[in-house]
């Protein structure tokens, strides 16, 4: 049984100016010890999608359609009480910006103690503190700093604390939202290595969100490419490397600079993401697509299975005609 199953998930924001379909018709599944990468531009819906998994979409966002199951449990109908016991314990979310994700007036030790005591109320404080010190050690933070405040740590260390808070209760799934964006390249690699080793040790599943496709391609088993709320391509890492079918994916891959090619002209995808209040009719990508035909601006392409557990939302693939 897969650890996480998401089926036709749709999330909308009901604002004063209109309805925004931040996530539309997204389906995927995830097994233990698998890493799923979510790639896409800012605003493509990646964070909203993952916040929906723990049902913490900020208002005025609402999950309007779809089903989600964690370990076979249908969480759509789950009452808030039970959902809260899943958060932090079974599914952990590591937020994007370590500078603003920690409570500035609480010591980091208290962050951990609160977390542990919420989910394991019977545990003794002394025992909890010992556990916390061990976790800090594993993260590469001096255990004596348990009484320090967040602003006394550097960005990289704060990110590690956030990750520590995520894995403290041995969750089955960790969602890491842009875990490296706020950090420099060297620290980035360390953090990603840390996540991977934790995944192996604790047998977790990992969802990695990033707008940096090169990181996703390096570290993930399965990849979802998001554009304007739609899942435009969903395939295994190898498949995506060998056989990218969606023009957007192809564009993203082409735009990754290759260190071995001298004098390479950087290619970019022309245009900019659509206004989500008024997305283009038909395929949302068609205004920027070099392969777009008349059909693309009229009808929305459905998600099509092209074999090898590879799904594309496009009428035309790289070679030949795909789908309807």
């Amino acid at each position: 049984m897969p650890l996480l199953e998401v089926d036709s998930l749709t999330v909308e924001y009901k604002t004063n100016r209109g309805r925004i379909r931040a996530v539309e018709d997204v389906s995927f599944s995830l097994e233990k010890r698998e890493t799923l990468g979510l790639a896409g531009e800012s605003g493509s819906g990646k964070s909203t999608l993952c916040l929906s998994i723990i049902k913490l979409v900020p208002p005025p966002g609402v999950i309007t359609k779809g089903n989600m199951k964690i370990d076979g449990i249908d969480i759509m109908k789950l009452p808030e009480e039970k959902m809260r016991s899943i958060r932090g314990r079974k599914v952990a979310y590591v937020f994007q910006d370590p500078m603003t994700s920690l409570n500035p007036v609480k010591r980091i030790g208290d962050h951990f103690i609160e977390l542990i005591q919420t989910h394991e109320p019977t545990i003794e404080k002394k025992v909890a503190i010992e556990r916390i010190k061990k976790i800090l050690e594993n993260l590469g933070i001096l255990p004596e700093r348990i009484n320090d405040y967040p602003h006394q740590f550097s960005g990289g260390m704060r990110q590690r604390i956030m990750i520590g808070l995520g894995i403290a209760l041995n969750p089955s799934l960790v969602i890491a939202d842009e875990p490296t964006t706020a950090l420099d390249v060297i620290v980035q690699a360390k953090i990603l290595d840390l996540l991977e080793s934790l995944r192996d040790v604790y047998e977790m599943a990992l969802i990695l969100i990033s707008h940096d496709l090169s990181i996703i391609l390096e570290r993930c088993d399965k990849i979802i490419v998001m554009y304007a709320g739609h899942m435009v391509e969903y395939a295994s890492n190898i498949e995506l490397h060998k056989n990218p079918k969606h023009p957007y994916t192809q564009g993203l891959l082409r735009s990754i600079p290759n260190i071995e090619l001298a004098d390479q002209k950087l290619s970019a995808i022309p245009g900019s993401p659509p206004n989500m209040l008024n997305p283009p009719q038909g395929c949302r990508f068609w205004p920027r697509c070099s392969s777009a035909k008349k059909k693309c601006s009229v009808k929305e392409p459905p998600l099509v299975d092209v074999g090898n557990n590879h799904f594309v939302r496009c009428f035309y693939g790289e070679e030949g005609v795909v789908g309807e």
Binding site: T15, N16, R17, P60
Partner: protein
């Protein structure tokens, strides 16, 4: 505004502005309701001498201390004065005092704030220290101290109140200027040799202005309440004009005898007027700094 061209009537110009205000959501509504209330009271006071049924200070126009009736809809005072006329005309002093004090605050507080924060350095620090000390001081007490030595009168009252609120203008102007001062386009203007008064008036002031308006309206409400307070303490203006503040004070003494109408109707007017200004001020400040992006 254009000199040539068709001159449209005041209302014709206001209506598109009002509708765009209304579209801003609940904060826009607050502003509109506030403006309506204030406008209504101001108009009422302005035309009061024509619509008041009796001379408000004339005594014995009716029975002494009579409760509201069809002939005297708001009752009469202990001296037989008609309350309705007093209420209609009584806003004049309060409006004058508040308007004057807001004007003084604006004319003194804003330039000092602009200048001090623009100049910066130790001068700014020194001025801020003094202003902050005044700001931290209990307003009414300060106004009482000044009014008690200045004596009665509209101008004196306005001055006492103005001193209390000048710091608010100074502070808001200063905080805005400090954040704008370092912005690139101001630097750009300075680098091409714009003189300091040009920079201040053309670049900085227009950006500071909206916040000032918001402070000014709330200031108006505070001025009204402080004026009422000063009168209550006994530092008001003379008796030969109808004044809500005076009726509040006098009316209070009558309450233990069961005469509730002398204090109540002027109090309602004061509340409405203060409320009107507060609504405008709150609505404006919320429009300027929306709490959430929606």
């Amino acid at each position: 505004m254009s000199q040539a061209g068709i001159k449209r009537s005041f209302l014709a110009r206001m209506i598109p502005r009002l509708t765009s205000l209304a579209r801003q959501g609940p904060s826009g509504w607050m502003v509109i309701v506030g403006i309506v209330i204030v406008a209504a009271i101001v108009i009422m006071t302005a035309i009061s001498s024509w619509i008041a049924p009796y001379n408000p200070i004339e005594t014995n126009v009716g029975p002494l201390a009579a409760p509201p009736s069809s002939q005297y809809p708001m009752g009469t005072t202990d001296l037989g004065q008609d309350m309705l006329s007093r209420v209609l005309m009584g806003g004049s002093i309060m409006l004058q005092v508040s308007a004057l004090s807001v004007a003084i605050c604006f004319l003194i507080g804003v330039p000092i704030g602009l200048f001090s924060s623009y100049v910066g350095g130790n001068f700014d620090k020194a001025v801020s220290l003094v202003v902050d000390a005044v700001y931290a001081f209990p307003g009414l007490v300060l106004a009482i101290a000044i009014a008690s030595v200045l004596g009665p009168g509209v101008i004196n009252m306005a001055l006492s109140i103005a001193v209390v609120y000048i710091p608010s203008y100074f502070r808001i102007v200063r905080s805005q200027v400090l954040s704008i001062k370092e912005l690139t386009y101001v630097e750009a203007a300075r680098s091409v040799g714009a003189k300091w008064h040009t920079v201040l008036s053309r670049y900085i002031f227009p950006n500071v202005f909206p916040s000032i308006v918001s402070v000014a309206t709330i200031n108006f409400a505070d001025a009204i309440l402080t004026a009422a307070g000063l009168t209550f303490i006994g530092l008001g203006v003379s008796v030969d004009i109808a004044d809500w503040g005076y009726d509040l004070t006098n009316g209070r003494k009558l309450v233990p005898s069961g005469i509730w109408w002398v204090i109540t109707f002027p109090a309602i007017m004061v509340i409405l007027l203060a409320l009107g200004f507060t609504l405008v001020g709150e609505g404006l400040s919320e429009m300027l700094n929306p709490k959430l992006e929606r």
